[in-house]
């Protein structure tokens, strides 16, 4: 558990909100709570952590909040809380990429387990994004010709085939390949391919 992980709790019911703070803080998390989706959106956008939102709220409901968070490109896992009658809405939330939904009242371990999973998924996503960003920065160092050669290698072509495809000699391919490996800090071909793929992975909005 990282001390930087902040759990954002959004519920229009003050008692639910404060009890959520009590529960999450007792488990060692930092908590920020908001009485409405708009209050959350008005605050500084979070860089990590997880968002726990009630689904049925006045003004903006949990589902709209989820959509807005995605639209703004905020990378944060969302857990939806629901009263029993809100099942259809919860389904839409899941379809829209919510990580979990919990029916009120819930077992503390169910909620804390869900939070742990969300943070883990969030961290993974953050790592992937960091990796993708780093890989993209490395890719930017390559010349257009080197990019073409790299594409051939990522597609699994041998030097010979790549040479034929690009109309250059296998020897030239080998020279390009060595330079690419060097620029991208790759120790092996598989290392190179992994980095190249990471760079092309597009991160979605919500996790």
């Amino acid at each position: 558990m990282s001390t930087e992980d902040v759990i954002f709790v959004i519920d229009d019911d003050q008692n639910v909100r404060e009890s959520m703070r009590a529960l999450l803080e007792s488990a060692g998390y930092k908590v920020k709570d908001y009485a409405s989706a708009n209050a959350f959106l008005a605050d500084k956008p979070p860089r990590s952590g997880c968002l726990i939102s009630d689904i049925r709220m006045p003004e903006m409901d949990g589902l709209e909040l989820q959509e807005e968070v995605a639209r703004r490109g905020i990378l944060i896992p969302v857990i939806i809380m629901t009263g029993h009658g809100d099942v259809p809405l919860a389904v839409r939330a899941m379809k829209a990429g919510a990580l979990d939904f919990l029916e009120k009242p819930f077992d503390d371990e169910a909620m804390l387990g869900s939070v742990r999973r969300a943070l883990e998924v969030g961290r993974q996503k953050q790592d992937e994004m960091a990796e993708a960003r780093a890989a993209q920065e490395l890719l930017a160092l390559l010349t257009p010709r080197e990019r073409h050669v790299l594409d051939q290698l990522v597609a699994g072509r041998s030097n010979k085939v790549a040479a034929y495809e690009l109309g250059i000699s296998p020897r030239t391919i080998e020279i390009h390949r060595a330079r690419i490996m060097d620029k991208m800090n790759a120790r092996s071909l598989s290392d190179l391919v992994r980095t190249a793929l990471a760079a092309t992975r597009m991160a979605g909005g919500t996790v």
């Binding site: 008692n15 009590a22 503390d108």
Partner: protein
């Protein structure tokens, strides 16, 4: 001045003023006297008749036989009409005939026999009789062709007339009932009712639109609406009762069915209102329960962090129990809601066709504004199925409403429900529409929860249908490769099939 009975003036006056015609002939049949009244009757003037044979005034066969008749009388004295009088036909100048009463007297003048005929015209009387007969026949035709039962009975309740509608509706021929007591068509528990009716009729009372039950020859009860009136004789004495009755059995059945459907609909809407209320309560109560569970769990963790002396352990244990109880309260609310949604099922043998027809009526109840053509193709030979009617109707309703919604934008909106045997021990009902059909990816996941094509849909309708049908030992599936729209088939086991397997 005293009248001289022998005067010619009196004689002439008699002949001239007699309203009935007077004809005097001689023994050979030659007309001697032909009164003015005769001119009106026959159309001949005296000149045309006097001195001619009287047969001129007679149609055949009298015309041909009269001479012979007179000759016969002269020789044998045998009388057919003389001194007697009878109804015969006269012939006018224009050769038309008319009925008349002819009385003939015989006399003698100057040694010669004469016959005096007095002619009374019967044509007006006969015409009146014909009219009365025609109007009687007309009335009889009305009575016979009436769709309503028309019968009459004596004050003792003995049937006097019985029309065709009575034969048709009660199953007894007129010959079987006329002369018999009307009590034959009255259920035993209603016999006193007939006594009461007859008592009121005797008192001159008219009874209208009295609804009661009568019994068909085959024992089945018929609901009739009666009107009973006294029948009076020429002197105004009440001698019997006439009864007009209408068979309202089908009408009452239809009304009852409509009332039943309405009740059912009410039941369904009451259930859904209860469901909504329960959902609202569940939401309201779940909020504080959530807070309780959270606080208690938080407290337990805080106490755990304080240490592990006996008191802390005990407090932690209590907190755990308190959290469990909060969750239990939540579970109770959930169960309550589930109970309202899915009440106990009651599996009873039902006629599937009736269940289908009612579901269609219910399904269309809220969809009168969408112009959907509904076709029922029901197999009448189906044995009963063992089902919870409300649940199966919920399934059908769901499919029907889905179809109606799916066809909202279609140019052709046709809903076809059919029933048929489906292998040994099963029957099937098919709900087919002419809508746009389902995309393959939706069709593949159709009965999984949370699959929906609807903007507002929750995607649990077909999932519930699926579990209801499975619960009945049946199966529901989407028919592949239908020529148009979507077709669902539900297979249900026959009651006999289930009993066999128990």
């Amino acid at each position: 001045m005293p009248i001289d009975a022998a005067s010619d003036a009196l004689f002439s006056a008699l002949i001239a003023t007699a309203v009935d015609g007077i004809v005097v002939i001689d023994a050979r049949g030659v007309v001697q006297i032909y009164s003015p009244a005769c001119e009106r009757l026959f159309g001949y003037s005296p000149d045309e008749v006097i001195g001619k044979n009287v047969k001129l005034l007679m149609p055949q066969p009298f015309h041909g036989e009269h001479d012979q008749y007179l000759a016969n009388y002269r020789s044998t004295g045998e009388r057919r009409i003389i001194g007697i009088g009878r109804e015969v036909m006269g012939r006018r100048k224009d050769l038309t005939t008319f009925p008349m009463y002819l009385s003939v007297g015989e006399g003698e003048v100057g040694g010669e026999a004469i016959f005096v005929g007095i002619i009374h015209d019967l044509s007006t009387l006969r015409a009146a009789e014909r009219n009365r007969e025609a109007s009687d026949r007309h009335l009889a035709n009305i009575v016979e062709s009436s769709d309503d039962i028309i019968l009459s009975k004596t004050l003792d309740g003995v049937v006097m007339s019985w029309n065709a509608a009575a034969e048709r509706i009660f199953g007894y021929a007129a010959g079987e009932m006329i002369g018999q007591p009307i009590s034959g068509i009255i259920p035993p528990d209603r016999l006193s009712e007939e006594d009461d009716i007859l008592r009121r009729v005797r008192a001159g009372e008219h009874i209208s639109h009295y609804e009661t039950v009568r019994r068909h020859k085959d024992g089945r009860d018929i609901i009739v609406s009666l009107s009973v009136s006294p029948v009076r004789d020429a002197d105004g004495r009440i001698v019997g009762a006439s009864k007009i009755a209408r068979d309202v059995t089908e009408q009452r059945k239809t009304e009852n069915k409509a009332a039943e459907l309405q009740f059912e609909l009410l039941h369904v809407s009451r259930l859904s209102a209860m469901g909504q209320m329960t959902a609202a309560i569940a939401h309201e109560v779940n909020q504080p329960l959530t807070a309780v569970a959270n606080y208690v769990s938080a407290a337990r963790r805080v106490i755990s962090s304080l240490g592990s002396d006996a008191a802390a352990v005990k407090a932690r244990d209590f907190m755990e129990k308190a959290a469990e109880q909060a969750l239990r309260a939540g579970a109770i609310i959930r169960n309550l809601r589930d109970f309202v949604e899915k009440r106990e099922s009651q599996h009873i043998p039902h006629d599937l066709n009736k269940v289908v027809a009612e579901a269609v009526a219910l399904g269309l109840a809220g969809a009168a504004h969408v112009d959907v053509k509904v076709q029922l193709d029901l197999n009448s030979t189906l044995a009963p199925v063992l089902i919870d009617k409300i649940q199966i109707q919920q399934v059908l309703l769901n499919l029907i409403r889905n179809s109606i919604e799916a066809m909202a934008g279609a140019s052709e909106r046709e809903l076809v429900l059919s029933t048929a045997p489906d292998g040994p021990g099963f029957v099937a009902v098919t709900v087919a529409d002419s809508g746009p059909g389902l995309p393959d990816e939706v069709a593949a996941r159709l009965f999984q929860p949370f699959t929906t094509t609807k903007e507002q849909g929750m995607g649990i309708g077909l999932n519930i249908c699926h579990s209801i049908v499975e619960d009945h030992g049946g199966r529901i599936w989407l028919l592949p490769d239908v020529p148009r729209g979507t077709a669902f088939r539900i297979r249900l086991p026959l009651a006999s099939h289930i009993e066999d397997s128990i």
